[in-house]
Amino acid sequence: MRKEWLGMILAGGQGARLKLLTKKIAKPAVGFGGRYRIIDFPLSNCQNSGLDTVGVLTQYKPFALHSYIGTGTAWDLDRTYGGVYTLPPYADEKGGEWYKGTADAIYQNIEFLDIQDPEYVLILSGDHIYKMDYSEMLQAHKKNNADCTIAVFEVPWAEASRFGIMATDETGAIVEFAEKPKEPKSNLASMGVYIFSYAKLREYLIADAPLDTEHDFGKNILPNMLNDNQRMFAFRFQGYWKDVGTVDSLWEANMDLLEDVPAFNLYDPSWRIFSVSPVRPPHYVGLTGEAHRSMIGEGCRIYGKVDHSILFSDVVIEEGAVVKDSVLFPGTIVRKGAYVEKAIVAENSELGEFAIVGRDAAEGPFGDNGGVVLIGEATKVPAGARIRKDATVGKDNV
């Protein structure tokens, strides 16, 4: 029985702009929202959209991602017929090559795709936060008898030159595609989510492979298809979508969740985001503890004050400590009297007693975290230390 469609999630990137957060793990494995990892969003979207087979293409430091995904049980992808496949680069008779670009990554997995034999292939990136029903996009693709459908969303005109912009006609067919145009003809930006008819995709990947190009969808495959007048359509997406590729955009997206009525609703029972959760008892707020406008994960012990912050699992806030506008990853300990504001603190770090993180004005040149303090994993900030806004502090340079 031929498979109708399968998903290929590009999860190989480092996400270098996330600095210490991706020192040991790939970007899609970075935590989000007090419980999730970024990869949970594309994976859950696939599961909720009815896909039963998903390939996850990994490359940069994939160990955490591989062991997190496991056999895909959390996303109902532990299946006998189908399931989740982690696809790192591999060696063949000629040697082996790293994935050189988004299109090359798919090209190198043509043998995998041939075995699965799908009619359509959904390609998406593993590092965006959004909820989307890809089956609606597939419907549109089939209805239009398209060779390629590209998901797009409206961006403010002022920002259009930062994106890959699609200009369409009244039927939704794409007439022009410009990567970061100085004078954009439309404000429909590509989301990096594509559905291809596999036969056509295969053709174009094979044609591009031997050439000296960047082997990138946006830069090579899509323009090639457009030039050949292939049937290409835009599919409009509406809803919250965020690329959390920088420290401050990651921080912002987390803060977005704390609104009374957040733009991105994690509590939607009709579109659950699945994840692998640690086995912990529910969190505890003590007699001296306080929490407002925050999200708190399991196993936390709160004896201090938490305001407008997100705490992952097993975070301890001691008496007298204050946490504001921050994101604390699992196992963080904030000792007595410490103060932390507008910070992202990675796993298992400890902020010593009366340390002040992020409140004081910058003394030297500004960092480039957009004002957010970034503390790397397993970093022990000594008691009484002062860390200015926008600093990046890891265990090696405390």
Binding site: S275, R280, P281, P282, L287, A291, G297, E298
Partner: protein, 372 residues
């Protein structure tokens, strides 16, 4: 512990649990904001290295099976060994106030016992929460060259003994007495209805008892055989919470608010595993006021919560006040409602402005799905 198997003997006394067990067996009662009673029993076994667990099904086994399913969360979803569902004997019903006929359930599954290859068996109930290391108890059993080891907790002389199985142990550790629901004699030791013995001894006991019209494991199987077998008592020194009445259920959940109890119950010898759900972290609004409480994932807190245990997905609206209460999954306390010393089962909703107050010794239990 490769040659040790386990049997969960789930024939608890439900008499004094009323609404809490109307639709579920004792083993499936939600506890501690996240778990069900059976999670402790199962986790203790797997943490001790036991990978073969047979579960004697109680009446109303539906919610239990729905919770345990293949046993994957306890790593019991296996090709060899793993989880085994053992159906109850016909006429499983407990008689009011009297002992259970649990040996009949064992007897109905005697072929299962005969076919297992393990040398030893640990029998555990689910009605008592504790975090215990069976490896130590098993070592004790071997060291003493015991034929039966009974695990107990020294509870002191003012522990309520109604409906309890108590016992006495001499200076060598030998069990000298066991009594059920005895009001006059005061044995300070609470038997935890947990036994270690050779599988062949268990089979012998089952057969001998059933053949003579006897059907209670503790009284007929163990007490009557104190002279036939070398029966030793092993003391569990950690916390126990025996859930056999609404009052004790309430008290032990409130005990969870104490960090020492939490550290013991949830971490002492291993983690407590349970069925996982995909629920987002709890969310606190700007008007949230939470003190001395346990809050599970998926809760939305906009009001005041004090000295309470909230299970997943509970909503406490603006102006609402929850004190000294236990609110199970998806309970809702609407705006300006007030509850104190209540136990809300799943999905119970108290509407705007209403209030309900129980007493510590008599918390008000509201059956699931009720709207007040």
């Amino acid at each position: 512990m490769k040659n040790v198997m386990a049997i969960l003997n789930l024939n608890e006394n439900e008499e004094n649990l009323y609404e809490l067990t109307k639709h579920r067996p004792v083993a499936a009662i939600p506890f501690g904001g996240r778990y069900r009673l059976v999670d402790f029993a199962l986790s203790n076994l797997v943490n001790s290295g036991i990978i073969n667990v047979g579960i004697l099904m109680p009446e109303k086994f539906g919610p239990l099976i729905d919770h345990i399913r293949s046993g994957k969360e306890w790593d019991l979803d296996r090709q060899q060994d793993g989880l085994f569902i053992l159906p109850a004997a016909d006429g499983n019903a407990k008689r009011r106030g009297q002992l259970s006929r649990d040996l009949e359930n064992f007897h109905a599954n005697i072929n299962y016992l005969r076919n297992c290859r393990h040398e030893y068996v640990i029998i555990s109930p689910a009605g008592t929460v504790c975090n215990i290391n069976y490896k130590k108890a098993f070592m004790f059993h071997l060291e003493k060259d015991a034929e039966i080891t009974v695990i107990y907790k020294n509870v002191g002389s003012d522990y309520p003994l109604e409906g309890a199985l108590t016992m006495a142990v001499d200076e060598r550790g030998r069990v000298t007495d066991m009594a059920y629901n005895a009001r006059e004699t005061h044995n300070d030791c609470l038997a935890m209805e947990t036994y270690i013995m050779k599988r062949t001894v268990l089979i012998e006991i089952i057969d001998n008892c059933i053949a003579r019209g006897q059907n209670n494991l503790a009284m007929d199987g163990i007490l009557r055989n104190l002279d036939t077998y070398r029966v030793y008592g092993y003391e569990h020194e950690g916390y126990i919470g025996r859930v056999d009445s609404v009052y004790s259920y309430y008290k032990h959940n409130m005990d969870i608010l104490n960090p020492e109890v939490r550290n013991d119950l949830y971490f002492a010898n291993g983690l407590i595993y349970t069925k996982t759900r995909s629920e987002a972290p709890a969310k606190y609004s700007s008007s949230a006021k939470v003190i001395n409480s346990v809050i599970a994932n998926g809760c939305l807190i906009e009001g005041t919560v004090e000295n309470s245990v909230l299970f997943r997905g509970v909503h406490v609206a603006r102006g609402a006040v929850v004190r000294n209460s236990i609110l199970m999954q998806k309970a809702q306390v609407e705006e300006n409602a007030y509850v104190d010393r209540v136990i809300f089962d799943k999905n119970v909703r108290i509407t705007s402005g209403r209030s309900m107050k129980g007493e510590t010794t008599m918390p008000i239990v509201i059956e699931k799905n009720y709207i007040i």
